[in-house]
Each structure stands twice: as C-alpha cells, then as structure tokens.
Amino acid sequence: MKDALRGVLAGVALSALASGATAQEDAKLIVNGEIEMVTTTTAPEHLEGAFREIRSGWTFRTPETQALQMDDFENPAMIAVDRAQVVWDAVDGTEGNSCSSCHGTVDESMAGVRAVYPKWNEDAGEVRTLEMQINDCRENRMGAEPWDYGSTGMIDMTALISIPSRGMPVNVAIDGPAQSTWEKGKEIYYTRFGQLELACANCHEDNYDNLIRADHLSMGMTNGFPVYRLRNTRLNSTHQRFRGCIRDTRAETFAVGSPEFVALELYVASRGNGLSVEAPSVRN
C-alpha cells in the first residue's frame, strides 16, 4: 500500500510541473487599497524541518480569484458580514441582550480576537474556538439557544468578528495550558486516515503547490477562514473544510465542533502564525 501511495504522490508531483503558471506567488494582497496583508513569511519555529517559509492559500489561486478578495465590493463573503452585523445588534434570548449590549461595536471590541483563536479559556479549562465562545455568550450571557456549530448564522458571525483583525498576524498560543491540545492536533495532522491513508501533511506539507487531479494544493493555512468558496458559493468554516479533506481520504471523519477538530484547528492555525488574518477570504 505504501508503495502504491508513493506512486500516486509521485504522479501528483509530476503533474505539478505544469501548474506553476497558475500560481500568483508574487502578487501583493492589499484589500480595499488600504489593508496590506502578509501572504508569505518566515515559518514559525515549531515548523523547523517542514517549512522555511509559509504561504497563504491566496498565493495559490488564480488572478481572477485573488482579485475577488482585494475589494469588499467584490468579495461575496461580505454579504454574510452584513447579515451578521444585523444579528450582532439584535436582542435575542431571555436576558434582553444583543452582542452589542456587552461588546459595543465589532470594530472596537473584536480587533485582534480572530488572530489569537483558538485560545485557552481559563474558567472553562479548555481550548476554545470562536464558535464555542460565541455559543457560551449566547447561552450564558444572552439566555439564547446556542447555534449549531456549522450553521450559517454561526459562520456569518465568525466572519463578522474577523473583520477588525484583518491584516493582523495570526498569533495563536501553543504553549502553557494550550500545549496538550496543540500536541493532540499535531498528532492528528500527521496521522494517515482513510482508505487512501493520507495525512494532512501528505498533501499540504509534502505536496503543496502540486496538482491533485485538477486542484492546486495549498499549504493548508487557515488564516482566511471562514472562506467563501466559489465551488459551493457560501462561507465555509475551518471544521467543514477539515471534514471535506478527511472525507476525501475515504475516512469516517470527525464531527464539526468535535474535540479532535478543535485540537486540529489550533495546530493548523499555529502553522500559519505570522500570516495575516484574511478572513473572510475567497477561494475556489
């Protein structure tokens, strides 16, 4: 099996020679003519031996797709942000609170938040994603029903919360109390799953920039999540993307919102420490 797989990956590698022309590695990402994004930077220390340099998924896309993210009037994800802004200001639940009752404006209160999540929560004694924190607010501050982890309303809200962090470097903490979760995520990243026996690393570390069938493999960075995908014309969360990847290995996947995906999200986010928060981004 291993030999067979090596054959497959070698084939993948060969087809990469033809793909160079589609990658726009040198393009500069400046959003709305004012937010300058770091799309290529030195890899964080913990990736020593794997990458010297890390690249945002944006650098792997065609000029047409790249352009969609350079202007909020072109970026289809901004419709979701508009939707979430209405929800942010709307009272829900038994406590008579909206998000803004406690947090005020998104721009002021949420700047920098997206860049450091998933993050250790001392009171809860666990690493939490933005989604978990939002539902904590909904249940305990607002007395409202929690949202389904992968629901449109939830993903819209994570997109909105990301807005004031755009251009800030991803900087998730991997040491201290978060370390054991991070280690667990790392283990998942390098574990081969499914009938195809593929780990995240087989595609996104060993074969980034190569074609897998018609798809141009990126380094699998999450700095742009949630992303608007042209493929399904909606916003997609990190966990939904993880599930799609693992499904493609012909494996039984972890659930969206599961502890395994929370750990993997922290680990994968840490591989992108130093890249700019691009969320909500546009990919194919």
């Binding site: 493929r231 399904n232 194919n284």
Partner: protein, 138 residues
C-alpha cells in the same frame, strides 16, 4: 436570491425556447427600444458596452456601459425571459456617462445598450456574452 443549479437550468431552458422563437423575443426587444426612443432612428456606435466574453456564472455577470454625452443608457438582455435590465439616467455631476453593475443572464445571448444623447439622438451597440452555466465550479 440564490438560484440553484436546477433553477438556473430551467431559466436557461426558457432562454433556449426564446432563441427558438426569434420573432417573439425579437419583438420584445424591438418594443423596449421603441418605448425608449419613441420610434426615433437609432445609429450604431457612440456607446460602449463592456462585458466578459465568457461568463462562468450567469447569476452575476459584471457589465459596464459608457456613452460620452449621453443623458441615459438603457440595457437589454435579448435572451432573458424579460429583456429589460435597467436604465441609467445621468445627472450633471457625472464627469463621464459611465456606470457598472452586475446582471443575470439566462444563457448565452446578446446584450444591447441604447443611449439617448443630449441632442435627442439615439445610438446603440450589442455584444454577445457566452454563459457557461452549471460548470463544475472551480
């Protein structure tokens, strides 16, 4: 509104039927132009219509129109169930009589722009846009 692939196909079928009945569709376009011009002669040129040669998604096709010296520009999509798209009326604070928007096209068809100039004359242009509906996405 988000059109599903199936709904878009249905719209496309409608367009195909329209193509098979050139007289009916043509009449609707002629009527719309006549209503805009009041029956005046329309000459070619003097108005520019910019649109992609091939639009991958017929639900949102970026277009722009420009006609220096125009007071208004009407846009028609000859292959849509209803060819009317919209009319731009320009005020004096516009330095260039030019505007961009995004339109729905039911299938491959001709887009038509008719401009009314400040002297009361009319000019028009047309441009074919190929719509590749329901491709595999990418």
């Amino acid at each position: 509104m988000t059109l599903s692939r199936r709904e878009t196909l249905v719209l496309g079928l409608g367009a195909a039927v329209a193509v098979m009945m050139p007289l009916g569709a043509h009449a609707a376009v002629e009527d719309a132009i006549a209503a805009f011009t009041g029956g005046a002669d329309v000459s070619e040129g003097g108005v520019t219509l910019t649109a992609p040669e091939i639009a991958e998604n017929g639900n949102t096709v970026p277009i722009s129109v420009s006609a220096p010296g125009a007071v208004s520009i009407m846009i028609l999509a000859a292959g849509n169930p209803n060819p009317d798209v919209g009319t731009f009326n320009f005020g004096p604070l516009m330095p260039r009589q030019e505007a961009s928007t995004r339109v729905r096209l039911a299938g491959t068809q001709d887009l038509i722009a008719v401009a009314k100039m400040s002297d009361g004359s009319f000019v028009q242009t047309s441009r074919e846009v190929k719509v590749t509906i329901g491709g595999c996405g990418g």
